[in-house]
Symmetry: C3
Subunit: 352 residues, 3 copies
């Protein structure tokens, strides 16, 4: 989420297009001691991305003149506790991410790899990117879907391969000058061979997001469908925030569907500035209509202390309560069915 | 193929060598909607490298004084539709590239990873690099061996692991001041243990290329042999181009041999400047003496529109006709034996 | 080991922390022709890292004011002969590095991936890093544990997954102003689930290093223990060097323990400046108390010729003598039990 920190002067490209351009090397290294406690097994780790997702990226923009620009964005996930990269998913289906071999995952631009053309009419973006349905959850989560405090409404078990990102996307974003209205639509392809098989459209999908921000107020809605022969996946959510100055309140509500299973959840929380720091708090719930009506409820509290714009130390504590057959555990621990689990993060986030 | 776009000032290296030096971060992000049609199955994809191969690289040169320089070049292939890298081949044999796990291919410097010493005598280059036999095909293909228009004369099934690049190379390039003559020789090693096995020299090879360019005229010849106990692979080709101003005409002829199988092909084509754009056209054929004398013939037409030196939109259409038992299909489609197939690209290429 | 060569001006980060900061792109590309001879099989390769380990890295420091700073360091190993990266180990156990698929190893930040906070009190460093026990060997080896001349006292077979580096480390370094005293302590985690299994603490460990450098004199001691249910691994060593001006003499002694097997070894050697170059020489031995008391003895001689601060050509010759059942071979060759083997390196190292 952190912005560019280095801008390199580009050698003047001779010819028609001599306008200003830049390439930016950027990243985040976030290391965190995470302690998870559950009724079956506890765990202590030095892990990553407790506050912001660790990453390394390259991006740039070229001014094409006439209000047009071209840009690229390559961003790789990073496990800075052990040096590995992250895998990606090539076809928006379970088959798009194969088996891992420990210690061997190299850098992929799994977080984003796109090229864009933009103008007064908006932005056309091609490649791998966040899905609108995920983006609308994470921006209205005080913990930004990172660390032990992550909202319960992000349930990848229900929402599958396109819960967070999609590959082979063609996206369109509205321009920024619509009086507070913003929006995007994203089409993505599973790229299966069209041979008449029932699964030939698996991994194809469409997501959209539309919102309105004005002064302290921001609200947005998102909905999506990804096709699978075994049952389509649908995600819809609405979220909003109000900045009261002394606090920024946030809430969202989500409904998911994966074939015959429905899930729904909500979050309420906020961010409270305190000097050079910020207190974070949220309460979130998620339940599905699978056998037993499994439900999880999380309370999360945290504090971030900014040493600078780029460097922060932080801590988060969270507890999840399971019922209806759920057994979610935090911080890498293992807990019993309908038992509780707690997680604790203490880390440092440095961006560049 | 695109040139450096960023040059970073190097902190003066104290001591004897204080001459100018630079390191360059460079790359190409090329995204393309590709539609393939065949008699068995069609396919539509957002893929990459329809005009130029997507890549991310780092390179630099150090002036050593006295006309000498040292340089390095690290260049990784990029699947920007999904964020994956590309595999490499470690030993110039089929065993040098193992099985893939979907979504997990990290960045490798498969395209090039070399260190060089250069002077008035030429350049000594060590590492992984293009083979001369490939280079002599791609420079005389109007489509640069990218996208659905790629020349039929590049037949990796016949020419195997060193058709495009080789690892463990020791290369020598003639200096640039020979009145238009240019050339290179490249030795590469399979690096097998020398234990008397029949395959102990598999993957060893030698390629050379020699050419002459003067004004509008450029012609070059290349030949190579890679050793395999199962049958050596030989590739030879000759290509040329003439720039008439209103068009650049290109042609090449190639002969390949893989053990008992011989293949041969040719291409004729051209590039036609049109305002800020360029029309591309080629006709290429390839046939082998395998059972049935399989033959493929491709007609390819395209247009590239340059939005700037760095950014272009482009489209290509191509059709391949199969005979003699061939069943090549374009754009990820599948076609029947002796049936036709067509491919269509519509993309954007941005370099940095 | 080479220092930063590029420093990029960081766009002033608005706000409290506007002090100087920099991000550095750095690396080494070292290519070497290696010839190994053994009684069973010889081998010739173009390989990498004969003088310094090939690498590509990104690092930077942010001044936080008040004597405090934050920094990051991401450094990937590089096989520039074929373009592959190197694997890492995620849990300091044998299970932390899985099976390889040839040609597919992408870049990982296996060499180092850390974030640090530093001040007058020293440095706190989190992530993957060298272990103190390794660092104390490599700095007192004239060949820096690279190439055919590498000291015999680095025996990863005995010392296992944490012989060189560890993941999930929490490290502390003494500040640099202690009148020549220096030191570090490093704790690392295997991160296993705490479920009462005998192996639940496998991969946890602690290493420390303490030294004193003054003028021409430098001596340091290191000791470590990594826990495994199958038998703890212990490494201890002491090393020193004296710079006589016409030569820098080095020696070290090491004792290792892996469960029931004990190993010990020593090295004596030196570096001899000769004009723009340096002669390197060492004699090292290692023996274990495994059945037969296997022992290896190596004599290594080399010369490095600096073309600049960044670029050098070098050659090394080494011979290993095996006894007591040992069969170590150099340069990728294979040799018989109790037979000898020799290795020869001829290479170029370029750093940036």
């Amino acid at each position: 989420m952190k912005k560019s920190l280095i801008a390199l002067a580009v050698l003047a490209a001779a010819g028609a297009a001599s306008a200003q351009s830049s390439v930016t090397l950027f990243g985040i290294v976030d290391a965190v001691v995470t302690v998870g406690r559950g009724t079956v097994a506890d765990r202590t780790q030095l892990t990553d991305s407790g506050y912001n997702s660790s990453r390394l990226g390259f991006r740039g923009t070229e001014d094409l003149g006439g209000g047009m620009s071209a840009s690229f964005w390559l961003e790789a996930g990073l496990n800075n506790d052990n040096g590995e990269g992250d895998p990606t998913n090539v076809n928006n289906q379970a088959s798009g991410t194969g088996a891992a071999s420990a210690g061997r995952q190299g850098l992929t631009f799994n977080r984003r790899s796109t090229v864009s053309l933009a103008g007064g009419w908006g932005e056309l973006r091609l490649g791998r990117d966040y899905t609108p349905q995920f983006w609308n959850l994470t921006v209205f989560d005080p913990f930004g879907t990172n660390g032990v405090g992550t909202t319960q409404t992000l349930n990848s078990i229900i929402t599958g391969s396109t819960a967070v990102r999609a590959s082979n996307t063609i996206g369109y974003f509205l321009p920024g000058n619509l009086g507070g209205f913003y929006g995007q639509v994203q089409y993505y392809m599973g790229e299966n061979v069209q041979n008449g098989a029932a699964t030939e459209d698996d991994g194809n999908g469409l997501g959209l997001r539309i919102g309105f921000a004005n002064g302290p107020f921001n609200v947005a809605f998102s909905t999506s469908r990804t096709e699978y022969a075994a049952g389509d996946v649908r995600q819809s959510n609405i979220g909003g925030q109000w900045d009261f100055g002394i606090a920024k309140a946030m809430a969202h509500y989500s409904r998911d569907e994966n074939g015959a299973i429905d899930g729904k959840g909500w979050l309420i929380g906020g961010l409270f500035p305190v000097g050079a720091g910020e207190i974070r708090a949220s309460y979130s719930r998620y339940e599905t209509d699978a056998a037993g009506q499994p439900e999880t409820k999380k309370l999360a509290l945290g504090y971030v202390h900014n040493l600078s714009k780029r460097t922060a130390v932080y801590t988060t504590w969270a507890r999840v309560r399971n019922s209806g057959g759920a057994a979610q555990a935090l911080g890498g621990s293992t807990t019993g069915v309908n038992a509780n689990s707690s997680g604790f993060d203490l880390g440092v986030r440095h961006s560049f």
